[in-house]
């Protein structure tokens, strides 16, 4: 696994808001094909890190490289075009679109059709085929013509991830993908995430430890904005420092 090339990495990332350092000297490496989990207590700065990596926030210090290219100053939308796509912890959907329209728009944009002003959306067969495949893959076919705003939460979450996949990412950052999803629908979502192609490198933020341990082959633990430790799931599970962070002090002074 560690022989696979590095697709995304950051060195010494720092983010300060006024006097508070939300991210403290974080360095991380994502290898190709990774199933890398980012865990830590609430407020540890996981989403902030994702925001820094994707360009929603600008770092106070440090640098980021995507597929060998320095992207620290690169605009958000350009990072997406270079192959790094994320999903959001709180659904960020297009409420006036239907799932079909959402995916058609995303796929068309991804295929570079945004500059073709004369062709109505949907005339390209490649777009249609890809939409059909995505709808199928994310079990959205039955609801494809319903406005997004009336969809059940589970379906909305699926759409949230489908949008990211429509962009054919090389690097996928998932921010708590099963958050708020009822237990019955989590399995469906998990299966879809697990079935993602092996060459897509995934960084996952999640609180559900079952999911994390079954999904990840590498984990980073973030506490108070800094990396506590990093390793394989077995190493993390047996790490005393990690246990302390999650469970409190593990022994009492005699």
């Amino acid at each position: 696994m560690s022989q696979a090339p590095i697709v995304l990495e950051c060195q010494n990332l720092v983010k300060r808001f006024g006097g508070i350092a939300a991210t403290q000297h974080v360095s991380l490496q994502l290898h190709q094909g990774a199933r890398h989990a980012l865990i830590g207590p609430n407020g540890a700065g996981k989403t902030t890190l994702i925001n820094l990596l994707t360009g929603v926030l600008q770092p106070s210090e440090g640098s980021i490289q995507l597929l060998g290219e320095d992207i620290t100053q690169l605009a958000l939308y350009l990072r997406v075009r270079r192959g790094m796509v994320r999903t959001f912890q709180i659904n960020q959907l297009f409420d006036s679109f239907t799932p079909l329209q959402t995916l058609a728009m995303t796929v068309s944009q991804h295929f570079g059709l945004g500059s073709k002003w004369w062709k109505p959306i949907g005339t390209d067969a490649r777009v249609i085929d890809r939409c059909e495949a995505l709808l199928e893959q994310f079990h959205l076919t039955e609801v494809m013509n319903q406005p997004t705003r009336v969809l059940a939460y589970g379906k909305r979450r699926l759409l949230e991830i489908a949008i990211a996949l429509a962009c054919e990412p090389r690097v996928l950052l998932l921010d708590e993908p099963v958050a708020g999803v009822p237990a019955g629908e989590r399995k469906e979502l998990l299966r879809t995430v697990s079935a993602l192609p092996a060459d897509v490198s995934i960084l996952l933020i999640e609180h559900d430890m079952d999911l994390v341990f079954s999904f990840a082959n590498r984990m980073t633990v973030l506490v108070n904005g800094a990396v506590l430790t990093e390793g394989t799931p077995e190493q993390i599970a047996n790490d005393d420092k990690v246990r302390e962070v999650y469970l409190g002090q593990s022994h009492v002074n005699a």
């Binding site: 994707t54 929603v56 958000l76 939308y77 997406v80 075009r81 796509v85 994320r86 959001f88 960020q92 959907l93 297009f94 409420d95 006036s96 679109f97 239907t98 079909l100 329209q101 058609a104 728009m105 995303t106 068309s108 944009q109 991804h110 059709l113 945004g114 500059s115 073709k116 002003w117 004369w118 062709k119 109505p120 959306i121 949907g122 005339t123 249609i128 939409c131 059909e132 709808l135 494809m144 013509n145 406005p147 949008i163 429509a166 962009c167």
Partner: protein, 322 residues
């Protein structure tokens, strides 16, 4: 064609009622030749409203100075006809070119800042152009306006007649042409991106859409279309004066869009028709105090809530992409 493809492409197809409206529009100057002037005014105003809808409805920018482009197109067309070539089509192309350049320039200025800043920059542009037209009176005729604009025949064949019938058809044809072009453009992937930006800018960026360039392009196109409307105005009335830049014009235009609804191209057209109709009716009763009634209408409309008012008019509006 698969069910999926049909579904995606449905909003971009022209509906039969749309065709009907345009047929009726063309027939009007036949049926009511005495109203030809009003008809061409309505067509021109509808086109102007359409251009503002691109800005207001598709980018969400509140512009109080859209008349800047209308006026620029009017003076460009008038000056061109007077000094270079009286051919109307040629004149419109010139008006289009000039206002596209102006629009591109202005689009750089409106990307930054808050709503208030944008309001002021747009207002300021219209005021600057009005001042310029006023001061450069050797060119523009100043406060008296540019008189004596004699137009040649449309496409070399159709002379502008005294009734205004040719003018009406000319205006309607140009309006229809641009309507079709805009409809087609907004049904493309670009148009879908615009709607995505409107719905959720952050997510639009997160799927690789360059928001700024989209907004700048829309604003420039909106300026160009407004310029064409202005050019038509000058050509069909044979005259261009300072009031083409007036604040009243920009404000009335916003009102039309509010009446008809933003974000779907028919809103501007519907609003323009209703507005012009109201204007001619009310002006006949109280010619000087139209301003008061418009003011009252605006206050009531907004206090009550725009959505409640335009609900009947949204029957034709489809859910999803325009």
């Amino acid at each position: 064609m698969s069910a999926i493809q049909t579904s995606i492409m449905a909003p971009s197809r022209f509906k039969s009622w749309e065709l009907m409206v345009w047929v009726v529009a063309f027939v009007m100057p036949f049926l009511m030749p005495n109203y030809s002037l009003l008809i061409s005014e309505i067509a021109i105003t509808a086109l102007f409203a359409l251009s503002l809808d691109l800005v207001l409805g598709y980018t969400g920018i509140v512009s109080l100075g859209h008349a800047a482009f209308f006026g620029m197109g009017a003076y460009a067309a008038a000056l061109f006809a007077k000094h270079v070539n009286p051919d109307p089509s040629f004149g419109l192309v010139i008006a289009l070119a000039v206002t596209t350049a102006l629009g591109a320039f202005c689009s750089l200025t409106i990307m930054r800042g808050s709503d208030l800043t944008r309001l002021m920059v747009t207002l300021g542009m219209a005021l600057i152009l009005q001042e310029l037209a006023n001061k450069l009176d050797w060119l523009t005729g100043g406060a008296d306006g540019l008189q004596g604009v004699m137009m040649g025949p449309v496409l070399g064949r159709f002379e502008f007649d005294l009734y205004g019938q040719t003018a009406a058809w000319y205006a309607i044809t140009v309006a229809l042409l641009f309507f079709i072009l805009m409809r087609r453009w907004l049904s493309s992937s670009f148009g879908a991106n615009l709607q995505a930006i409107r719905d959720n800018r952050l997510r639009a960026m997160s799927i690789g859409i360059h928001v700024h360039s989209h907004l700048a392009i829309v604003y420039t196109v909106a300026a160009a279309v407004a310029g064409v409307a202005g050019g038509l105005h000058a050509q069909t009335t044979g005259f261009a004066s300072l009031d083409v830049f007036s604040f009243d014009r920009s404000a009335d235009l916003m009102l039309m869009l509010v009446i008809g609804g933003t974000g779907w191209l028919w809103g501007g057209i519907a609003g323009a028709v209703v507005f012009k109709f109201l204007h001619s009716v009310i002006s006949a009763i109280t010619p000087q105090y139209w301003t008061f009634w418009i003011g009252l209408f605006l206050v009531v409309l907004v206090s009550v809530g725009r959505e409640k008012f335009i609900r009947p008019l949204t029957w034709f509006k489809k859910e999803g992409a325009p």
